[in-house]
């Protein structure tokens, strides 16, 4: 949890902690192995290649990534908007991935 804290939204942390505490050995190993996306890294990608939609592709929003690429970062506007949104989106996607893994 200490290691992975930055991958999730602050308000999600307590709930995640609860879930992790209740895990058995085999599940814990699977969770450890998940590779989450680093919000800061994605932000850097967004800064450098936001107009190409690469940040969206990296968080898994393929459709939106295509739209972003075709419109050259939404005429520049979307690229700027995403600079603010993308870290939150990354954390949300990480959370969903965790929940998905825990559900199995």
């Amino acid at each position: 949890m200490a290691m992975n804290g930055k991958f999730f939204e602050a308000h999600q942390a307590p709930a995640i902690r609860e879930q992790l505490l209740g895990l058995d050995e085999s599940k814990a190993a699977v969770v450890q192995a998940i590779s989450f996306k680093d919000p800061t890294m994605i932000l850097i990608v967004s800064l450098l290649a936001g107009s190409f939609g690469i940040d969206r592709f990296m968080v898994g929003d393929v459709g939106l990534g295509v739209a972003k690429l075709l419109t050259c970062g939404g005429f520049g506007v979307w690229a700027i908007v995403d600079l603010f949104l993308i870290m939150g989106v990354t954390r949300q996607k990480n959370y969903e991935l965790l929940q998905q893994t825990l559900a199995y």
């Binding site: 393929v62 459709g63 295509v66 739209a67 419109t71 690229a79």
Partner: protein, 139 residues
């Protein structure tokens, strides 16, 4: 409308609307002034080189005058954009009217398909090739 589907539909409709307005604006510009208005490419401003999507607007305008070949020569992505812009909003509206989620399901399947390794690599190669072509054409 459930959360995720609602967000997706809203986002895509908004993008379609803004793209439509942009194209309309360009169309008016072209008929009154004879040329396109300002370019919006951040990449081009900074590096001076065209980006993969450079010329998409011009390509779509060409298509709307019926010039398919010319459009493809300017930027093939224009054809892709035109197709998406025609089909996606209509499909979403149809879904909203019929209270179905056929587009949402299609979208999810398409996303999963596009994530496959060989598809990703092929698409990247195609986009890069188109980009290089753009640069040689000095769009």
């Amino acid at each position: 409308m459930s959360g995720r589907k609602g967000k997706l539909y809203t986002t895509l409709l908004a993008i379609s609307a803004i793209s439509g307005v942009w194209l309309l604006f360009q169309q008016i510009q072209q008929s009154t002034r004879g040329s396109l208005a300002f370019g919006v490419c951040f990449f081009k401003q900074v590096t001076g080189q065209p980006c993969p999507a450079c010329g998409t607007t011009r390509a779509v305008m060409s298509l709307s005058s019926g010039n398919i070949l010319e459009s493809l020569c300017i930027n093939p992505l224009g054809l892709v954009a035109m197709l998406l812009l025609s089909i996606v909003p209509l499909w979403i509206v149809a879904d909203l009217i019929c209270k179905s989620d056929s587009f949402y399901r299609f979208y999810r399947q398409a996303e999963n398909l596009l994530k496959r390794r060989y598809i990703v690599i092929s698409l990247i190669i195609i986009i890069l090739a188109n980009w290089i072509w753009n640069i040689t054409k000095q769009l």
